[in-house]
């Protein structure tokens, strides 16, 4: 197998990586929490604020016209990135969390009746769990969960059809790639089964959007959410893709300026989607920076990033398993570049603090997956997550630091 050496070609595009932390060259392995930004995105944000900034959709002057064009071009860019049929199916939000809250509130909050079912998996991030708990409580709907079993975090997908047959499931919301297990879920098949039973589908693509080709028409999902900062873009900007026929029937999520056609003292008429869902001044620079980030990802090649992710995920899991007393979570093969683990009895916080002291940035905690981590019989795990700029010598540094930690705390 030829290993794509993306880092060799692209690492220099990320200026932040060139620094020392606690006297050691930084090894950034917290990419599932947030990736870093290439120079092109940093420069575009600066260029926009230096030359083109004004409020969008309201000014008649040159700067506002330019800002509006850039903002709406960014929407088109996202539509192309997702192979969405129409830029009007792209809503700018603050991030995955807000995108899912929007659907839970504006779709489920109005469509679901008492007794209706919401189907989730046990590996959902809190962002794709709590909004559904809240709406279920509000409308009297019921939550159903696909069970996750073992350290490998398996889901028995063969039971899916029966779950739909036996229960009044109206929507299924699931993660594309688990942020703690690195497991990749068969989202297209889930959507096919759901649609056969007349259910609506939402894909949490927070961990997949920056890591692999995404095609909402091939997946055939009704909603898909992701965050800019997990795919080389700015923080505070995210995307909700929605099937236009559904968005058109949905009530606004927030109300105020920008989202209305006409207002009297007594009432208002909403704009059509997507602007109906973008009350107030949006994160204009964020949207423009995100478009630049998506350009960058396509320049690197999303197929290459996916191959690189799988390569690092697999070799990292294999090498970590060779460390005595180290328990790796997630699938044995075909994993994303995310590896959660527990080293002996060392608490994840102690381990992460130790790694940081050696310049290695890891995540430690429940990764906003508290029910799942508890199910594994743990309170916290450590996590290493890789991206296109990570190198094999950085993986060596991780392995070395874990050996040292075992000695230090052992």
């Amino acid at each position: 197998m030829t290993v794509p050496s993306l880092a060799e070609r692209f690492r220099a595009d990320f200026p932040i990586l060139d620094q020392t932390v606690n006297g050691h060259p930084l090894v950034y392995l917290d990419n599932a929490a947030s990736t870093q930004r290439p120079t092109s995105v940093i420069n575009e944000l600066s260029r926009y604020y230096r030359h083109d900034h004004a409020n969008v959709h309201r000014g008649l002057h040159a700067l506002s016209t330019r800002a509006t064009a850039l903002y709406e071009n960014a929407r088109q860019r996202v539509a192309t990135f997702l192979n969405a049929e129409d830029p009007e199916s792209i809503v700018f939000t603050r991030g995955t969390t807000e995108s899912i809250n929007l659907v839970a509130s504006s779709w489920a909050g109005n469509e679901l009746k008492p007794g209706d079912g919401i189907l989730l998996t046990q590996m959902e991030h809190h962002a794709n769990l709590i909004p559904w708990q809240i709406v279920a409580r509000r409308v009297g709907a019921r939550l159903y969960f696909l069970t996750v079993t073992g350290d490998e975090g398996e889901i028995d997908w063969s039971q899916l059809d029966t779950i739909f047959t036996d229960n009044p499931i109206r929507i299924v919301a699931l993660t594309h790639i688990s942020n703690s297990l690195g497991r990749i879920n068969p989202v297209a098949e889930v959507c096919r089964t759901a649609h056969k039973h007349g259910a609506v589908t939402l894909i949490d693509a927070a961990q997949s959007a920056g890591h692999m080709p995404l095609d909402v028409r091939a997946i055939d999902c009704d909603f898909l959410a992701f965050s800019g900062h997990k795919c080389c873009g700015p923080t505070g900007i995210g995307i909700l893709y929605g099937r236009k026929s559904l968005l058109e029937k949905m009530e606004p999520y927030q109300t105020g300026g920008e989202m209305i056609v006409s207002v009297t003292f007594e009432g208002a008429e909403w704009k059509p989607p997507p602007h109906r869902f973008e009350a107030g001044t949006p994160h204009i620079a964020g949207a423009i920076g995100l478009a630049t980030a998506l350009d960058y990802l396509d320049q690197v090649g999303r197929n290459s990033i996916q191959e690189n992710d799988h390569h690092f995920g697999n070799i990292a899991a294999t090498r970590l398993r060779e460390i005595p007393d180290l328990r790796v979570f997630g699938p044995l093969d075909e994993r994303a570049g995310i590896v959660s683990f527990q080293l002996g009895k060392i608490h994840a916080h102690d381990l992460v603090a130790f790694a940081d002291q050696h310049g290695v940035a890891l995540r430690g905690g429940h990764h906003c997956n508290q029910p799942l981590v508890r199910k594994l019989g743990l309170h916290a795990t450590a996590r290493a997550s890789f991206y296109l700029y990570n190198t094999e010598s950085e993986l060596d540094r991780l392995v070395a630091v874990l050996h040292s930690a075992a000695k230090y705390f052992g």
């Binding site: 608490h347 916080h349 603090a353 002291q357 430690g364 309170h379 916290a380």
Partner: protein, 141 residues
């Protein structure tokens, strides 16, 4: 190095071999502390004598080394004190970590001074102390 200041020998020792570890049945009172940021949990059990002094104290922790060691050292420090004295030691210890207060009379708890350079670990160092306060004011069970 700062890190070894944080994880001093005595901290590592108490985290690996926590003193007064375990559960006390009623009539001992219990109190818990929970850190939602990391899921860490500490429960402290206290049994007072007829004179109101802490006669027996124990704890159970699902927690990091800093938290476990701080709680373990705490049990040694407050054993035999009255509720008022124990809460005074708690205040003194937290002031020492957060307000650069004096370390006088804190004994081995001074080993936690390294936390001052790692403010993100302050919650770890104080979780057991909040559980102690809850146990002192808490119900049996």
């Amino acid at each position: 190095m700062d890190f070894d200041e944080l994880y001093q020998e005595i901290i590592l020792d108490h985290s690996k071999r926590p003193r007064n570890s375990g559960v006390l049945p009623p009539p001992a009172t219990r109190g818990s502390g929970y850190n939602p940021a990391c899921g860490d949990e500490v429960t402290v059990f206290v049994l007072k004598s007829a004179e109101g002094k802490i006669e027996t104290i124990s704890f159970q922790a699902q927690a990091c080394a800093i938290c476990t060691a701080s709680t373990s050292l705490m049990t040694l420090q407050v054993k035999g004190t009255t509720q008022e004295q124990a809460l005074e030691i708690q205040r003194h210890f937290i002031d020492f970590l957060t307000k650069d207060g004096s370390s006088e009379g804190l004994g081995h708890l001074r080993a936690l001074a390294g936390v001052k350079k790692f403010p993100q670990r302050l919650k770890c160092a104080t979780l057991g102390w909040h559980a102690l306060e809850a146990a002192l004011k808490g119900d049996a069970g």
